[in-house]
């Protein structure tokens, strides 16, 4: 058990740090019309230096490196807040790997490099209004028409669809078979006629997600990923990558509320002197350290060529609930003042209020607490799956909602 770098790791880290210092500085000197253009420029810079998609082969634009190198670069890059941007996470974390796994060579040649460079952005279009936790309950239909398919339906919770160029979309091609067996995956051009992208108004008032409507959208059969009616397995491949893509920092943490507690008055001196607060802080710290150290274990597994399993589900359960608790504890500690969410007045520019309003979404997005516990129970502990009343029923015969 060793936190220290090996000599090779230390060397890689030193190189990465030097590169970052030079290049972040250079990048910061440039002027860009908007954050997306800025993020694309940084991604292109990293690609040229072999620091984008570090574990991917060089022939695809990657770095040809090891998982540990990828982790090391990530740790170092995280120290430069000016270059943090999530525009490419879903595309490079989930969609493009799926394209690489299931598309023909010409498609890969066409799309992988531009995606790595940030020239093109990808979205994932699986969720539907009637679906939610039950991802396979997909109603968006694709009907064969010569060499094409005609797609009609609606997707929801699509992050970044408004700035994306392409997407992978899971659709129903057969309603006569049980629901998992009638799905097919395609890649699509999000600028295709008949696609309408509308932002979802979240409870916080912000819009990080979209609804995507398909009206007679024509998709060539050549854009199919995997076999007809074999899309569920492709989707599982995509989702397996989701757990690796998600995680990490999600908002305020124990260190932030510790800082707040040094200054905020409690019932007797600063809040940090209050043992009731200290006890909660200790528990948060234990969980946050637990997650950090669990990630270190996952990285160790990666570095040994193992795939971290569904046990990484514990990360989001803990992080999302903790975010809600810490956010709420902070505003409650502010007393009556806690209701004020004006960033000019609220501590940490309202970051604790943002946490309270975002955490409910984090507890749901990418698998609810309940679904993740099922995953742990079934895939890690080997307990029986839920009793399924829908497994052997044709999709068209299922009760409302699929």
């Amino acid at each position: 058990m060793d936190f220290e770098d090996t000599p090779e790791e230390a060397e890689y880290r030193a190189k990465a740090r030097t590169w970052l210092e030079n290049n972040v500085a250079a990048h910061e000197r440039e002027r860009f019309p908007d954050p997306l253009t800025r993020a694309r420029a940084w991604q292109a810079r990293k690609t040229e230096a072999g620091y984008a998609c570090i574990t991917w082969p060089k022939e695809w634009g990657g770095g040809g490196g090891t998982p540990i190198q990828s982790v090391i670069f990530g740790q170092e890059e995280a120290k430069f807040p000016s270059v943090q941007a999530g525009y490419f996470t879903i595309g490079l974390g989930m969609c493009v790997p799926t394209v690489m796994g299931f598309a023909d060579d010409a498609t890969k040649q066409r799309f992988v490099r531009p995606a790595v460079r940030g020239d093109e952005i990808w979205s994932q279009l699986f969720s539907e209004p009637a679906g939610g936790s039950d991802v396979a309950a997909i109603r968006t239909r694709a009907v064969r028409d010569g060499d094409d398919w005609i797609v009609n339906g609606q997707k929801v919770w699509t992050s970044g669809a408004h700035y994306s160029d392409y997407g992978i979309v899971l659709v129903r091609t057969n309603t006569e078979v049980p629901k998992h067996k009638g799905l097919t995956m395609f890649w699509i051009d999000l600028k295709s006629p008949g696609i309408d992208i509308r932002p979802i108004h979240q409870m916080s008032g912000k819009s990080d997600f979209n609804e995507v409507y398909f009206s007679d959208v024509r998709v060539p059969d050549a854009q199919r990923l995997g076999p007809v009616d074999g899309g569920w397995k492709v989707a599982l491949f995509t989702l397996m990558n989701e757990r690796l893509a998600v995680g990490g920092a999600t908002g305020v943490g124990p260190a932030d509320i510790l800082k707040l507690a040094r200054e905020l008055p409690g019932s007797d001196g600063p809040l940090l002197h209050d043992r009731a607060f200290r006890e909660r802080l200790a528990d948060w710290w234990v969980l946050a350290e637990g997650l950090r150290n669990t990630r270190m274990r996952a990285i160790t597994a990666l570095s040994r060529g193992q795939t971290p399993g569904p046990e990484s589900s514990i990360g989001k359960i803990i992080a999302a609930n903790q975010l809600q608790q810490i956010g709420n504890a902070a505003i409650e500690a502010e007393g009556q003042f806690g209701i004020i969410d004006d960033p000019d007045l609220a501590p940490m520019k309202g970051a604790f209020h943002d946490a309270v309003m975002w955490a409910p979404g984090l507890r749901i997005a990418g698998g609810t607490d309940e679904i993740l516990k099922n995953i742990i129970a079934e895939r890690v502990l080997g307990l029986p799956g839920e009793i399924r009343t829908d497994k052997d029923v044709a999709f068209k015969d299922l009760p409302a909602g699929g």
């Binding site: 309950a137 979802i200 409870m203 905020l264 409690g266 709420n328 502010e334 009556q336 969410d341 309940e370």
Partner: protein, 362 residues
Amino acid sequence: MNFDYSDEQKFLKEEARKFLAAKCGADRVRAVLEGDHAYDAELWREVAAQGWLGAAIPEAHGGLGLGHVELCAIAEELGRACAPIPFASTVYFVAEALMRFGSEAQQAKWLPKIAAGEVIGAFATSEGPGPVGAVKTRVTGGKLTGTKIPVTDGDVADLIVALADDGLYLVERGEGVVAEALSTLDPTRSAAKLTFTDAPAERLGDEGGHTAMQAVFDRAAVLLAFEQLGGADRCLEMAKDYALQRHAFGRVIAGYQAIKHKLADIYVKNEVARSNAYYGAWALNSGAAELPLAAAIARVAASEAFWFAAKENIQTHGGVGFTWEYDCHLFYRRSRQLALVAGAPAEWRERLVGQLETRNAA
């Protein structure tokens, strides 16, 4: 022994529910959430016309003189409806402060106007983040100077009960009072920063500052507990209704044990909150010496229940619960507003134990 609403009180409560179902649907709450108005003025007039503002105000002062249990029943329904009106500030805080500390003249002057809906009240105590500690607001020569932030309904209040270092004061909107509206977590309830500069102020009662404030908080806490309970019940209902019609994996999600037990957990907390709120109502209504303890118990239970119900209602809804269009967040926001408006739960836990110490020492 009778530990429930009486039949008359139940009737009043049912009528209130019907009235609010008709007059205060989610559309009316959203109109305040999304619009420019601090509250729903039409609803306010209608509520006044029902006599609710004066439910616990003696008939001699223009109220219905019913009593506090009746007011609790109304509060429960207002909470369930997430009503966007300055009811709590005006009735639970200011009217209660006047009834507890006001001279006959002060009561005669203000209570009839409150009962008639002509005067909106606000209770101004906080001066910044954290529990209300040393008070900087001072009164000299009948002029009050200081800054209060936040003051719920401070932007629309006609009559402010303000905490100064030596006690409570009545201040009317106008001379020496500047209100700036604040952005808050719950825009269905407005709040403001009030800056007082030599504002004419009249002493209310002779209790010292914190003691007087706490006496008002105790009374308000019981009434707020019923609003919180109503909100928590509504969240449970919403979660149940949604779970009974939402399908996943071929059956309604209400059939999954994780959802069943989640809703059972909400139910348990709500029932604890209800029973403790009833105890608080009894203590408030009968003027029992246990009021400070009963109020703390009721408030802690109700704050916990509403928060839990509001957040797990969203969770039960899944993705749609997180959207602006669904009503879950109205109650989530309101649960935060109500939990903080009379001081945070931690302060009440401390007060609860303090009361236990006093009681056992006696």
